[in-house]
């Protein structure tokens, strides 16, 4: 049994079908990358998995349990964490407090939550900034804070939405290092990213979509060579 499975999920906004009959699975411990042109529905897939929007039709399973009907806030409890493409820091809380909020999911004790938060902050290389208000962080650190916060809630599956966008190559590498460490810690990851170097480097498999439907899914190299992916997404000079 796969850790996660989406079965023919569909999402329409009025007349516009953002996700169209998409099915895929994620195995425990793997990193699944999702690529696709702008507006092809990647973020929407995340929003559907985390139940921010109700599905128009289809089913989603996590650890064999159907989860597409549960309220959004229960998703995290079940073990699925996420970050936001447009970062959403808790601006007037410090970095540590931000992460503590995530840690409170698994405990009611203040000391335990703080301990977990400290750990996670360290893990993401944010300890230097832990007492700074989130609003004063630059974008790279804000993105990292997103990851840390989601990690603190101890998810089995974590969804990362463009955590490297707007980072320069060097910074991206740092981010990739963190993502790899997350995987080493035994977590499963779905990642959306436009930077192919990142995607090729860390994904076990890549799902390419366009207009909300699957183009192809498979090993990164194969996907990158897929003519339709090249046409719709990569452009010729990436071939």
């Amino acid at each position: 049994m796969s850790l996660f499975e989406a079965k023919s999920i569909v999402k329409s906004f009025g007349g516009n079908t953002a996700v169209n009959n998409l099915s895929f699975t994620v195995e425990k411990g793997e990193i699944l990358g999702i690529i696709g042109p702008n507006g092809s529905g990647k973020t929407t897939v995340f929003n559907l998995i985390s139940c921010f929007f109700p599905l128009t039709s289809g089913e989603i399973y996590f650890k064999g349990k159907r989860i597409d009907q549960v309220p959004a806030h229960d998703i995290c409890k079940l073990g699925i964490g996420r970050t936001f493409q447009v970062v959403k820091p808790l601006k007037r809380m410090t970095v540590l407090e931000n992460v503590t909020v995530g840690a409170f999911l698994r405990t009611n004790s203040m000391t335990k939550a703080k301990l977990k938060a400290e750990e996670t902050v360290d893990f993401c290389g944010l300890s230097q900034f832990k007492n700074y208000e989130a609003k004063s962080l630059p974008i790279a650190l804000r993105k990292r804070l997103e990851i840390a916060r989601a990690l603190a809630s101890d998810p089995e599956l974590i969804m990362l939405d463009e955590t490297c966008a707007g980072l320069n190559p060097r910074e991206s590498e740092e981010a990739i290092a963190i993502i790899k460490r997350i995987r080493e810690a035994g977590k499963t990851i779905i990642i959306v990213e436009h930077i192919m170097k990142v995607m090729m480097g860390i994904s076990d498999r890549i799902l390419a979509i366009n207009f909300g439907s699957q183009i192809t899914i498979g090993k990164p190299q194969e996907v990158a060579r897929h003519p339709e992916v090249i046409k719709a997404y990569l452009g010729d000079d990436h071939a």
Partner: protein, 320 residues
Amino acid sequence: MKNKNWLFTLLALVIALVIPLLIKAPYQLHMIILILIWATIGTSWNLLGGYGGQVSFGHAAFFGLGAYSAGMLNLYFELSPWWGMLLGPLAAAIIAFPIGLICFRLRGPYFALAMLALGEIFRILFTNLSVTNGAQGILIMPAITSKAWYYYIALAILVVTVMTTYKIVNSKIGYYLVSIREDQDAATSLGIPTTTYKIIALLPSAFFTGLAGALYMNYVAFIDPKIVFNLVNVSIMIILVVMLGGPATTWGPTIGAAIYIILGELFRATLGAANVLVFGLLVCIIIMFMPNGILGALTSLRRFVRQQKGWPGGTKHESV
């Protein structure tokens, strides 16, 4: 640091306890009682509004419910309105529950306006229903005459309210509330059932507001719907009290209440026909120049001093 805080609180409490022995003048004591009542309401509102970011323009509903519970016990069962101190807060909290379920589906200004409308709905209902004695209101004879007693009761209520709020705020619930205020979507993604937590904040908020309402009934001895369900004089003044002192701070509402009552009375007693005008001007000035209230202004001052020490210096790859 922590010890110092406790010492401070203890000292303040001792001072508070001996105040009636020092201030014999009932008029001054009366002002202090009003301050305590408003501080209680403000502190309750602050839990939901200041920390949780759910700005309610309808807290008069809970205040009025508390007051009417006390009044109606007296009207119908000839019970001492002091029993209202038990019933009032419960009634407010019970009614708050469905209100929360309805209004918390809305965010930001929409929530504020829905609460405003709900407060008005209560006023209209209590004005027109005959069980509540309608517009005629409820008049009772004050049960005790000693100001000191009212003072101690009001003080006890405030202390309990502040302590409860403090406990809540410095727990998981508090973290969750603030995170809901800062970003509701992020909060949801971290597994916070936002509506549940807003209701968790609303219930004590309504409870203590209702308690203050019941005390008000006992103390002022007359209520009618126009008084206790008043939009401007209750719902909005609560917000003003909190904003003046400092939202999302422990003592801000109390400080705000003191300013509101003392300045209001001072102006009224000395400025004649222009007293409300001057008060209005003052409100404008404070809000414009101290957007986070007096305590907020103090905090930024402190932070300013702290930040002079500077940012620990960018990311790892320092200069070349």
